[in-house]
Subunit: 219 residues, 2 copies
């Protein structure tokens, strides 16, 4: 489902167990459940991943999972958000960090779009991402939640960086930053999802060049 | 899965039964199977649609379906291509007709993009399209077939129209028509798939404006 840069996914909204005292033990369980869900969906595929299977692999009871999440899709979404937050931390950023603003819009976007390409091509993200997207396609409720915690925050990062660029006069005053954000990210997601053509840095660069041309200030 | 304009989907590659004499009777069966598959997926959802259910509703034996198609996804893809071909015929076009070329690129693309919006919002297409996309996400083989018979031919139509525009000097000589085609269609598909924001004619128009700006010839 991810349009882009899973590593910059927002902080998990409520990945923590609902148990009021999130003891060290429940934190360990939560981590084991996330790891099990991500591993299973990558190894066996989404269709064959079950709450029972996740529980067995995590060494917890099935009821432990159902106490915290309503479905395997919900577990997987939180696991994915957690994975993305970890990747952010590893990069020295945090879940709220936006797109870099060095003052060079093209360079900043190029950096982020190339990183998105790398992540979409990373098997660690690919399986879970496809599973989430597939679930969103058949479940409107799940899609709404995914859009809220994943897609919209990702798009909002681009919008904020583009707004700053607009204020600096780097893009046209009448450019629609929302549309620009979608133009930068949707084609990558589409190539990834349908595997129409190779998803490469060169493609990300060419896409960026075309989009920036359309955004450039007019005399 | 469709990026755009299902009504302009290519002619079904081989929607006809594999039986060498496609008799009137087998044509009737084929039509009944298509209708049943489309109705079931819309009413009950993809997960609950089975080959058995399609066969029962179509009044044919399960083996009749398996003789012609390997899976419910394969039935649904051919049913969808057939539906799209019918829509083309109803519009007076045919499956091979491309994007109109009136000489006014913006008007031609606006027409096609608005029609795409209408179709993506049409419940008749929505259920089957989501089912196909979901299957493509979890099955690389199915995705490859879908890309071949649906996504690539759709993108090729845009590419051809944009190539004509480039020859006429309506867009920049160095514009990449493939990237342009993806910029025009992927954001619509993304809004449709994740329901991030309303998918309207106004959105299609704004998208087009932004993309055409980037493509316009430079002095």
């Amino acid at each position: 489902m991810t349009t882009e840069k899973p590593a910059q996914a927002p902080a998990p909204k409520a990945p923590a167990p609902k148990a009021p005292d999130a003891s060290r033990r429940s934190e360990r369980s939560r981590r084991a459940i996330y790891d099990a869900a991500l591993a299973l969906v990558t190894e066996a595929g989404y269709a064959k991943t079950t709450v029972e299977g996740i529980a067995a692999r995590a060494g917890v009871g099935k009821q432990t999972i159902y106490r915290w999440w309503p479905s395997k899709a919900a577990v997987l979404l939180d696991a994915f958000l957690d994975l993305a937050a970890q990747a952010d931390e590893a990069l020295g950023g945090d879940a709220d960090s936006g797109i870099p603003d060095t003052g060079d819009l093209a360079a900043d976007l190029r950096y982020v779009l190339r990183a998105t390409v790398d992540e979409l091509n990373d098997p660690k993200y690919d399986g879970p991402t496809r599973a989430l997207a597939a679930e969103g396609l058949v479940s409107p409720e799940f899609a709404a939640r995914m859009t809220e915690v994943l897609m919209e925050p990702q798009l909002a990062r681009y919008e904020r960086r583009l707004e700053a660029a607009r204020e600096d006069g780097d893009i046209a005053a009448d450019a629609d930053v929302r549309i620009a954000a979608e133009l930068l990210t949707a084609p990558l997601a589409h190539r990834w999802q349908y595997r129409t053509r190779p998803l490469t840095h060169a493609y990300a660069d060419a896409l960026l060049t075309h989009v920036l041309r359309g955004l450039s200030p007019r005399p």
